[in-house]
Amino acid sequence: MNSVHDMGGMHGMGPIKYEKNEPVFHARWEGRVLALTSAMGPWRLPGSSRFEQEQIPAAEYLRMSYYERWFTVLVERMVKGGLVTRQEIKSGKRAGGSPKAVPRLTAAQVRATPASAGRTDRPVVTPLFRVGQAVRARNMHPPGHTRLPRYTRGRLGTIDRDHGVSRPPDTSAQGLGAKPQHIYSVRFAARELWGEQAAPRDAVYVDLWDDYLEPA
């Protein structure tokens, strides 16, 4: 979706504020939000965290801090998944008579060496493009979740490397992301993206799936 989360190339966002000796968390609640989100992971909450975040109204999205967005979306997904009710969120108390579950993530599991998130399903798919080939990012504007940033759409690039096969996370009903496909680093010259005032040697590399590309 074309929303404010898609920030590449926006002006007017102010200076970058660098904080010396920045702590991992700026307040205790930030760490708790992160941990709660991870601990709820095994419950398989509905929806995608990213797409839910993108749907936060634009002014709110920009106003909120990073973990505030996480918190908002966590609540939303838990309610959707029926794990808690809005009434319970409001009161902070389990509804009388409702069952008590057993946590799916334990401290022991956390302390154990984190398992490699290795992908087990590695279907063999023929790539549509090869390294060095000129491609054009498709000019599409899906209202759902996509990983094709606006600033690349319609732009010419070259396949820099092939990362293998995975499934794009698009949520739109255009058949995008329905099937596993190759994902590539695509190199876009800065001048192709931003016009003549950009540095002639610079480039931006974006990871794009087959479905996002067409032959140039």
Partner: protein, 219 residues
Amino acid sequence: MNGVHDMGGMHGMGAIHYEKNEPVFHARWESRVFALFRLTRAWNKWNVDVSRRQIESIPAAQYLRMSYYERWFTALGELLVASGLITRAELVKGKRARGSPKATPPITAAQVASMPSAAALARREAPVAPRFQAGQQVRARNLHPVDHTRLPRYARGKLGAIHRDHGVWAFPDAIAHFLSDKPQHVYSVRFAARELWGETASPRDAVYLDLWDDYLEPA
């Protein structure tokens, strides 16, 4: 400037709230801001593109949160201070600094009806030759100026056709900085919806944009 003001094609902005029997102003302060904005412009300390630039420079989250006249009000304060008509201290206090001179307003109630419009102020009679003809294929240039421009992001790099020539006008990217007018032709350019938005757009629809010579290149 690629700011949030450049909204064409954004998703997620919510439903359009239609108000039945909407009043011209929703509060008295809105009408006062409107009138102050119009009347202070008569000091010729800024033009419409300078004030637009000021509004566009409101930080994104604020811009989206603010109502229309709140943006005007914010920009007005900054313009008044930047132009030296008032000082920051006066703006904060709402009181004229002691000993500062008192001016005579350039526009009286009797003159209100004959104030020139923004369009009248931007029109130029300079004999500039057009670079394009009606019917000609053009491409909107892929420009990303960090400052004020009237070329929306969604049209950049896209193919269109000159629909008609509107004559010669001052160039906003220049006058927003009090630079020379850089007068040039403005055209209505037709862009097919599919060119702008891809295959899912209607095959018949089109968007017409008024674009200056400097925004266009031959296709």
